[in-house]
């Protein structure tokens, strides 16, 4: 009989994490973000450039890691995300930060992408050879690049919401509360997802990384 003992963080650390989350989450959009979306809603084409410049890289990174580093898929999804945002610009009331709103749209687009591709179900288990094929960056050592590719491939073996939660929390540096807002779930639910996702990813990468 096995007993699962949940290891709780010390109380003071949880308080600190909570305060940090509250400070970082920034619940509402600032006035410039609202103004930018207002211009897009009114059909101002000049606003498009700033919109893309401000958010393209972050969105691209988020999507890129979610699609296993496939550039074409990442670009398609980012483009779809921007088009959807422009289409819904009139509905943006500044109730959340613009980044949160965009990531929420992007996560839906990624989910749609995987629903179409169903890639994660077809993926084989990781092999040593796959690890050697990875690498997209230039300023990292070969070993690091290999490591990143392995982790990215490992993420593909997780359910989409596990993957989204891990990337938002640890790669994009979102707070738990902000991650919950992007995923449109409760904080408790996201915390639970994060625990299970970490465990699942550890299982996937066990013996490989």
């Amino acid at each position: 009989m096995s007993v699962i003992v949940r290891q709780e963080r010390p109380f003071w650390r949880r308080i600190f994490a909570f305060a940090r989350d509250k400070v970082k989450e920034g619940k509402r959009a600032n006035s410039s973000e609202v103004a930018l979306m207002g211009r897009l809603a009114e059909g101002d084409p000049d606003a498009a450039e700033k919109f893309v410049a401000d958010h393209a890289d972050a969105l691209y990174r988020f999507v890129y890691h979610q699609v296993g580093g496939v550039v074409q898929d990442a670009e398609d999804i980012v483009q779809e995300t921007f088009l959807a945002a422009v289409r819904q610009a009139g509905r943006f009331r500044g109730q959340s930060r613009l980044r949160t709103w965009l990531f929420s749209i992007a996560s839906h687009k990624v989910a749609d992408h995987w629903r179409r591709q169903r890639r994660y179900a077809e993926l084989p288990l990781l092999t040593e050879q796959q690890v050697a094929d990875g690498g997209v960056t230039q300023e990292m050592s070969i070993e690091q690049m290999e490591m990143c590719q392995v982790v990215r491939q490992g993420l593909l073996h997780l359910p989409p919401h596990y993957r989204t939660a891990l990337i938002l929390r640890y790669v994009e540096g979102f707070s738990v509360a902000e991650t919950a807002r992007v995923m449109q779930r409760s904080v408790k639910s996201v915390e639970s997802i994060l625990v299970r996702a970490r465990r699942k990813l550890a299982e996937v990468l066990r013996g490989v990384a």
């Binding site: 498009a48 919109f51 890129y64 921007f82 289409r87 960056t137 990143c148 490992g154 640890y170 465990r199």
Partner: protein, 431 residues
Amino acid sequence: MNGAEETKNVERWLRKLASEKVAASRAFKSRLVRVVREAVLRYRRRRWGIALRWATALVVLLGLIWLVYPRRTTVALLTVREGKATVHWQKRILFLFSYDGEEEVRHGGTISLSNGDHVVLSEDGAAVIAFQNGTVLELQPGTDLVLYQTARTMVTRIYLSAGELWAQVVHLLDASGRFEIQTPAAVVSVRGTVFRTRAQDTRSTYSATDEGTTEVTLLDAEQGNPAVEVPAGYEVEAVIGEPLVVRPQAPHIESLNLDGKETKLAEGETIASSSPDLSISGQTEPGVDVVLLFLLDGKEIDRAHVEADGTFTLAFHPPEEGDYALCLAAEDENGRRSDCVDFVFRYDRTPPTTLRLLEPTEPEVDRAQITLKGLTEAGAVLTLNGEPVPVADDGHFEVPLSLEPGANPLTLESCDAAGNCTRLAFTITRR
């Protein structure tokens, strides 16, 4: 490796992923900017398109509402002069549906009337309906009618269930134009005239024409719905089951000259004179081409032609004193005679036989203030030294009197309606 270590490892691996410099290519960003710009412009055009479609839909919707909205076309204006009128109306929607309503208009109020409106006037009511072409209907108390007018055929039809109305219809220019008043018993159809119609009951209708000509159709299928023309000055009483007879209207005497005095003559009244030569000069409506008759017990005693200005003179010479029931009637050249205007002529040459002084009983009195009491004929006109004295219904009279010291000569005079007088002169001395 336990769970905590695994978690730390996973976090470490993922943070390495975060340290990886991943960014969208410049070419992709340029393409993205272009695509987003086009999308912004496209959505702006689409929004305008959507707005245009909504505006079009709104216009179409308003048009449909305009089509189906029950509009009531005003054909006349009802003004209530006395009492109140109740207007029952019905609104139609697309000729398929309708709903009813009721509105009460009181003294001084006005309401627009439309086709199919049902007007009921109270028993103490009086009202006027004015049409746009100048036609005027005066409604008498208790009138109950339904109004219907078609612009296309220029037909105005009034369904008169009860009551009386007086109509002044302007000349209709359109040859097909008609103004009709339909009662349960008849249809009065006119083209420019002044007339009066009264729905007496469900079987009879009275109609009189004052100007122009009306056509009256009796709604009696057994007689073949006979129709007659009723010219000015004539009247007809359309009774189901009886022949339709047109006759002159009874004379309407506006003024009367009796023995050189202007007087009034109302039907059923008694006029009295002490002169054996009764001459009645009067005036009726100008232009009426009839002969006026004096009838005594149905026999003609005098006739006079009405002059162009409406004046006439009739004479009667009673053989002896007494009351004579006379009839004033009109007769046209075809011998059609109107109803009578009845009145009584009293030829009286006998002065009041009763004029007596009851108090004071003595010719001499001690007081300065006395009350004179006496008796004369009932209905007589009494004066004391030329001043009128009121007389009770039974002929008794009394009047306070101030006496001067010494002899006070007094004269009582009692005159009847025919002008015959009895005089009583006496003296009362104050000691």
